[in-house]
């Protein structure tokens, strides 16, 4: 046939060739259409153990598969996925468990190929028996597991851990066959591992069949197969005396097995001596002699050559096994490292996602001169969004200026310094773009990058400030109290002294006067202590919140001050409307009581002293007021009025707590109180708000 003539040309002969291939291929070949097998070849039929292709055609692949695949995924789901992948990518290769005709499962390596040239969507299916592959995989896994144990120094590795006996058997058989010697592999103590290859009748059927003979053979094998670093051990066997050679299989310094060959004789062999052995072991001399003659003859030279080859093989095997162990260890190590890494990554990811502090990873952007000009947000955790309210667009450039809407990237100098020096830096800042206070730690995981870990401390700072203010108020309070309690005490002690003197002199007028001072001072202390107690109770709102009309609570207050104001001829005018409020009734009564008391106290000598209680409505709230036409208040003193112990008029009664009490009560109910006065002689007006106060209807009559 001419070289340049194609044996086939397009047209029927080519299709015929493919048809032949289809029919004769050892691999299964099928066509899927619409998810059903529409054609298959004989190999496919026989792989599944069916008799006829009608058992496959018309069926869905799921019909010849178990419900779930080996990894637990339902076959239905996985087959959908694989077919979709084939249609999408063009082809797809995977291992699949099919069900044979006899019900058993079979591993098949499947290749799906999309046949897009046809009008319909056909998928070609190729099946290859994957039993071997799976077995090898399994053996490797087993070996790796075994080697895991091998890692522990206490456990002894043995031959079976590292070698597949069947494979070794094959090698051994082949070697023996090729060279014409007998061969066997034993454990170091001589116990056979493999089946004997090419054993002569003498050894196999005669000598080894006797107890003594067998034991001697093993001992001999052990001896001859012992570790020898550079050369095989070649010598007559210690049992029968035939020539033997042995090489050890040593892995990682451990003698795992002995590979023995031999059972040959040469011209040096002393037949007589050999026959003696028959007696030793108690074998039939006739059979012994017969078998002996069958023992192959081989020159010593040849045998030694074969032995050296054996040595080479055994060394190679040992070396490979050793490398295998190393490799397996490495693989195992890598797997462990990977697993550890994965779980570590998982942990960190979990931490990253759930931690309450915001974390943001950034990259510094440098200009051509190497100067930091901006930075980009690379990654943020959910807490970042919680704190800042900002979400990082997944595909944006995410420059700081963009994210925060500023002209300059905030804190660029601080951040870029950390990014270049690697030195961590912590500070607190007020972040203008977000109007909140943050406590920030900046670190640099690698040069040019920085990460911020921050916490919104706005609330904490506010609380701290409040706490500090409270503390200051507390210490002012304590100071004031101790001072104001000490003062009357000085009076009492001193005047007691004077009293003693007065009594001696019997000076009645002075006695009276001095007793007066003492009494007053004692009263003052008592009152102070009472009011202090009241003040401390205010914060705790010990009384239940009740609903009441303003009229009721004002009347309560008026009842209480009635005695005090009776003598002063002060007119009380109630001009408030029908108002309803919820609060601590006795405390609110105290508010009015104190304000009325105050107003009455600071009345001048005018003929028409008037205190008015009313309400106003401003833009958004209801305001209650208590107005008087008394002596008024100098504007300079207005700020200090509600301060504790700030008395404007020292000569009058009262401890100076009254207005502080009023303030406290109002504030506890959520309102605020303030005073206005146009100046001395112009009266004053105290106003306060009371959240929740409601106007019911019309003004009440006076």
């Amino acid at each position: 046939m001419a070289v340049d003539t194609m044996p086939f040309y397009l047209g029927n002969p080519v299709l015929d060739a493919f048809k032949v291939f289809f029919d004769q291929s050892p691999d299964g070949s099928l066509i899927l259409s619409g998810g059903i097998f529409v054609e298959c070849n004989p190999a496919a039929v026989s792989m599944l153990g069916y008799s006829d292709k009608s058992c496959i055609i018309g069926k869905n692949p799921l019909a010849i598969s178990p419900l779930a695949q080996a990894d637990g995924v339902p076959s239905a789901e996985k087959s959908q996925r694989m077919m979709a992948e084939a249609l999408r990518e063009g082809c797809c290769r995977f291992d699949w468990l099919h069900t044979r005709a006899d019900g058993g499962d079979i591993w098949i390596e499947v290749v799906l190929t999309r046949l897009s040239s046809c009008d319909q969507n056909y998928i070609h299916v190729s099946w290859r028996d994957a039993v071997e592959k799976k077995r090898t995989q399994q053996a490797l896994e087993d070996r790796l597991i075994a080697l895991d144990i091998a890692d522990e120094p206490a456990k002894e590795v043995n031959f079976y851990d590292l070698f597949d006996v069947e494979s070794i058997q094959t090698v051994q058989d082949a070697f023996a066959q090729a060279t014409g010697v007998a061969s066997i592999i034993t454990l170091p103590d001589g116990t056979p591992i493999t089946r004997p290859s090419n054993f002569c009748r003498l050894c196999n059927d005669v000598i080894r069949k006797t107890e003594k003979g067998f034991s001697n053979c093993c001992k001999s094998d052990a001896a001859i197969g012992r570790y020898s670093q550079f050369a095989p051990i070649i010598q007559p066997c210690l049992s029968g005396g035939l020539w033997d050679a042995g090489s050890s299989i040593t892995v990682g310094g451990r003698h795992l097995a002995s590979w023995l060959i031999g059972q040959v004789r040469n011209e040096e062999l002393d037949e007589e001596k050999m026959m003696e052995y028959a007696d030793v072991i108690g074998a039939d001399p006739l059979k012994f002699a017969e078998a002996l003659r069958e023992v192959p003859v081989m020159s010593r030279e040849r045998f030694e050559q074969i032995s050296r080859t054996l040595f080479l093989f055994a060394s190679e095997l040992s070396q490979k096994a050793f490398l295998n162990v190393q490799q397996a260890r490495t693989i195992r190590q890598n797997q462990r490292t990977e697993a550890a890494l994965r779980s570590s990554e998982e942990r960190f990811r979990a931490l990253f996602q759930t931690m309450t502090e915001g974390v943001a990873l950034h990259e510094v952007i440098y200009n051509a001169d190497g100067k930091a000009v901006d930075y980009r947000l690379v990654m943020v955790n959910p807490a970042y969004t919680r704190h800042t309210g900002l979400v990082l667009p997944p595909h944006g450039e995410n420059l700081a200026t963009q994210i925060y809407g500023t002209d300059e990237p905030p804190y660029l100098d601080v951040f870029s310094k950390v990014a270049s020096t690697g030195e961590p830096y912590s500070f607190e800042l007020f972040f203008v773009p977000l109007n909140r206070h943050f406590s920030v730690s900046v670190i640099s995981p690698c040069i040019g990058q920085f990460a911020t870990v921050f916490e919104d401390i706005t609330d904490r700072l506010r609380k701290n400030k409040e706490l500090q203010e409270k503390n200051e108020e507390m210490s002012r309070f304590t100071y004031a109290v101790s001072h104001d309690l000490k003062s009357p005490l000085v009076t009492i002690m001193t005047f007691l002294g004077y009293l003693k003197q007065d009594l001696v002199k019997n000076d009645t007028a002075t006695i009276e006067k001095d007793l007066g001072f003492i009494n007053k001072a004692a009263d003052k202390m008592s009152k102070l202590l009472d009011e202090l107690l009241q003040l401390s109770r205010i914060g705790r709102k010990t009384n239940p919140q009740v609903e009441m009309s303003l009229k009721d609570v004002v009347r309560d207050a008026l009842d209480m001050v009635a005695g005090r104001i009776a003598g002063k001829r002060v007119q009380i005018k109630e001009s408030y409307g029908k108002l309803q409020l919820v609060g601590d009734r006795p405390r609110i009564a105290e508010v009015f009581q104190n304000l009325i008391d105050n107003a009455v106290k600071y009345m001048s000598d005018r003929p028409d002293p008037l205190v008015e209680i009313g309400h106003e409505v401003s833009e958004f709230e209801v305001i209650i007021f208590v107005r008087d036409n008394g002596i008024g208040i100098d504007s300079r003193h207005l700020p200090k009025l509600f301060g504790l112990f700030e008395k404007l008029n020292p000569g009058t009664e009262g401890t100076g707590i009254g207005l502080a009490l009023v303030k406290r009560i109002i504030e506890v109910h959520g309102g605020r109180v303030w005073v206005e006065s146009e100046g001395p002689g112009k009266g004053s007006i105290f106003r306060f708000t009371f959240p929740g106060i409601k106007i019911m209807d019309g003004k009440q009559e006076e």
Binding site: Y479, A480, H483, D484, K486, S487, P488, L489, V490, T491, M493, T494, F495, L496, G497, Y498, K500, F517, K520, A521, H637, F645, E646, K647, L648, N649, P650, G651, G656
Partner: protein, 146 residues
């Protein structure tokens, strides 16, 4: 030292305490006259010769000032500060006589330049002793400028 009684301006809001000082100083052998005002505002008005203390004849400039601290309207320390701020008034020796032993008050008082700081004892004999010593030191031993 001539025979004229020494005028002491007593700035004290507590009547009883003022009475104590008055009684003690009245007994003292060095003639003295107590002018008593009840709060810081009055003290300043007196010293700066404002109404109703404008007339120098009825309101002689004091040779020394006894000052209480915690007073309404204008606090003792504020009075002290204003006194020391004034070129003329600063020459008048000031002694604080108060119940407060607070460090902060002490520090501030001396920062402003008070002459001495006395704490009222809670004990009759001690108070008496204090006032005697005070009298001795300031009225008997101490010299006042003209």
């Amino acid at each position: 030292m001539n025979g004229e009684p020494i005028t002491i301006l007593l700035v004290e809001d507590d009547q009883a305490h003022a009475e104590i000082v008055r009684r003690n100083m009245a007994d003292f052998r060095v003639a003295n006259r107590i002018v008593h005002v009840e709060d810081g505002q009055q003290a300043l008005d007196y010293l700066f010769r404002r109404e109703p203390y404008a007339d120098p004849q009825f309101n002689p400039r004091p040779s020394m000032i006894l000052l209480d601290l915690r007073m309404p309207k204008v606090d003792g320390l504020e009075v002290l500060r204003q006194i020391k701020d004034d070129e003329v008034l600063r020459r008048i020796p000031t002694v604080i006589l108060t119940t407060s032993a607070a460090e902060s008050d002490l520090a501030k008082a001396y920062t402003y330049g008070v002459g001495s700081y006395l704490v009222k004892p809670v004990d009759f004999s001690k108070f008496t002793e204090l006032m005697e010593s005070f009298g001795y030191y300031w009225l008997a031993w101490n010299r006042f400028p003209e």
